[in-house]
């Protein structure tokens, strides 16, 4: 009895999470432009999507920015977390706290402050400023993810590696990196997702000539939801499903 209740509860949670997505995916195959009634199966929204030049361009832009910013943030964040762990320097604690502050500060504050920063620097908003902004808000997530794993390590492991003849670089490459890999992948995944669906910060930091998907969809939706967007969302859902599965398999292999 208790067991069935527990499963029922679990089922409810998952249904709550996934029913909207499921409905969206189903309607992306619905042969009707406006109706929410099922009118028959079609792939035409997908073909229209591919044919929609500006939308596809925004999609590709988004992927490029998400990829570039998540990779950069992952590299910088991993090195940062390692530095916080390995080296004792003045202001270390304060700096680590500031990482949290960046993570917790509202997107709108971040967006505006970055915009002002770019204006002061005299940078024209566009792909580059967008990339920098995305790296900035992804970075703390990587640092925190990697640091939480690294701080669980036996400190002597570093000393052992050095004792056995490794230079600092060899120690990082052969010991730290493989041991941190699951956290690095998790941090990268998080960054990729955060970057891909960011609206607020991107709104302030990209220019008129560099459109990205979330902003594009946002402006399109104001004119009503087109089934084309359902199709696009379904594709993106599939993409994230693949990414998560791959990441899971990779980290599993590692242990």
């Amino acid at each position: 009895m208790k067991k069935t209740l527990r499963y029922l509860y679990l089922a409810c949670v998952y249904l709550f999470l996934y029913i909207p997505i499921l409905i969206l995916v189903i309607y992306s195959f619905n042969d009707s432009k406006y109706s929410t009634n099922w009118q028959g199966f079609t792939l035409s929204w997908y073909t229209q999507l591919i044919a929609d030049g500006p939308l596809m361009e925004a999609f590709v832009n988004s992927l490029v920015i998400a990829f570039a910013s998540s990779v950069s943030a992952t590299i910088l964040g991993t090195l940062g977390a390692f530095a916080f762990y390995r080296y004792r320097f003045p202001g270390r604690k304060v700096m680590y706290t500031f990482i949290y502050i960046v993570m917790m500060s509202p997107d709108i504050v971040m967006g505006i402050s970055l915009l002002m920063f770019f204006i002061i620097l005299g940078m024209e908003t566009g792909a580059l400023t967008l990339l920098l902004a995305h790296i900035t808000f992804c970075l703390p997530f990587v640092v925190v993810t990697v640091f939480s794993r690294i701080s669980g390590f036996d400190r002597n492991i570093i000393d052992v590696a050095k004792d056995l003849g490794a230079t600092e670089l060899q120690m990082f490459r052969h010991i730290m990196l493989p041991m941190l890999m699951p956290a690095i992948i998790a941090g990268w995944l998080l960054s990729f997702t955060l970057s891909l669906d960011d609206v607020v910060v991107s709104f302030f930091t990209t220019g008129p000539y560099f459109e990205i998907l979330p902003l594009k969809i946002y402006s399109m939706v104001r004119l009503g939801i087109k089934p084309e967007i359902n199709a696009l969302s379904a594709v993106m859902f599939l993409l994230s499903l693949i990414t998560v599965t791959v990441a899971h398999l990779v980290t599993k292999e590692n242990r």
């Binding site: 000393d159 052992v160 004792d163 056995l164």
Partner: protein, 360 residues
């Protein structure tokens, strides 16, 4: 023991902020010996090892190896390897990869590496476990991997930081013997750290007793146990009974000490003069117990048996002397000698053979 030390520590000092972990310590370590640093937790043993390994920087003093100064040489350039207290195996590597780690950094001949690793595995009796991961090994096996990982690099000096402290009693005894065997087979210098005096005594060629960052006494286990140079060493290395007394008479090499009115002749190693206050120290097994005072004819202290603890090979007695002290006595049990078995509350007299005492 050769004349020239392989590692020499001179005035070695290490301060962490406000604590002085190692305090101008001098120590010579000789080729091929099994030297133990023995001391209570927090006395700086680990820090000394880390200084030798190059994992900490000296605050003052100098460490030299084979006659050349090591100050500033990074750990990866020292011909020294360490077995850490926590083992610190690389969790993402197999046993083979763990052991091969050091070799792979220095050479690329796969065949030679394979050969050396299997040799090391043989030495620690772990052959066949090459492909296990650390978490699939027992504590004792992890310990052996940590050993193999260090010795495969053929260091001149192997540093071992309380390598047995995490093992249970039986396994520890087994590993003590193993460790001695490995030491004999390799013929390299071992610097072993422990806070366990029994371990130190049964394994070492020499023991350096440490306290608060300094060496209190250094010598063979027998010297350390039988002729402690100060109260710290006496108390730390095994149980000991202390009697306060004063010298009433000296004549070449001997002295007579008054303890609670009884006049005991003792060997005057300390060269005390008449009237000096001295402490007479006696190990529990060096004290004799008799039922009647006159049996040995000499001076004796009287008291009453408080507790009798039968330990198989020995019987331990706790005796409270009429003068107030409580002393511990260990008697080697002998079934033919029924009169060794004292009852609680029984009145006894204690004394010892001339020369078995230590005076400080």
């Amino acid at each position: 023991m050769e004349s020239l030390p392989i590692v020499r520590l001179q005035g070695v000092t290490k301060r962490f902020d406000d604590v002085c972990a190692v305090d101008s310590l001098d120590l010579d370590i000789y080729q091929g010996e099994f030297l133990t640093l023995l001391g209570p937790s927090g006395c700086g043993k680990t820090t000394v090892l880390r200084l030798i390994a190059g994992l900490e920087t000296l605050s003052a003093g100098e460490i030299s190896m084979n006659g050349s100064r090591l100050n500033g040489t990074p750990p990866n350039k020292r011909n020294v390897n360490t077995v850490f207290q926590s083992y610190a195996l690389f969790p993402h590597m197999t046993v083979f990869e763990n052991i091969a780690f050091g070799l792979r950094l220095k050479q690329s001949d796969k065949q030679a590496i394979r050969h050396q690793v299997s040799e090391a595995l043989d030495l620690v009796k772990l052959s066949g476990l090459e492909n296990r991961r650390p978490h699939q090994l027992s504590g004792g096996q992890q310990q052996r991997v940590a050993m193999a990982r260090a010795i495969v690099n053929k260091p001149q000096v192997l540093l071992l930081d309380e390598p047995l402290s995490a093992l249970d009693y039986r396994l520890r005894q087994e590993m003590e013997i193993e460790l001695k065997r490995v030491h004999r087979q390799l013929g390299i210098t071992f610097v072993f750290v422990t806070h366990d005096q029994e371990e130190a005594i049964s394994m070492s060629d020499r023991i350096a007793v440490m306290n608060e960052g300094r060496v209190e006494q250094i010598g063979t286990p027998i010297k350390i146990y039988e002729e402690p140079e100060n109260m710290f060493v006496a108390r730390f290395v095994g149980e000991i009974n202390v009697f306060d007394g004063h010298v009433v008479n000296v004549n070449n090499g001997s002295a007579v000490v008054d303890i609670h009115g009884q006049l005991f002749p003792v060997q005057n190693r300390k060269k005390a003069g008449t009237g000096d206050k001295v402490r007479v120290l006696l190990r529990p097994e060096d004290i004799q117990v008799t039922r009647d005072a006159d049996k040995n004819g000499g001076p004796a202290l009287s008291g009453k048996v408080d507790e009798v603890i039968y330990k198989g090979k020995t019987v331990d007695l706790v005796i409270s002397l009429d003068a107030g002290e409580t002393i511990n006595v260990t008697q080697f049990f002998n079934e033919d000698q029924e009169d060794l078995v004292y009852g609680e509350g029984e009145r006894v007299h204690v004394d010892w053979l001339y020369g078995w005492e230590v005076i400080l």
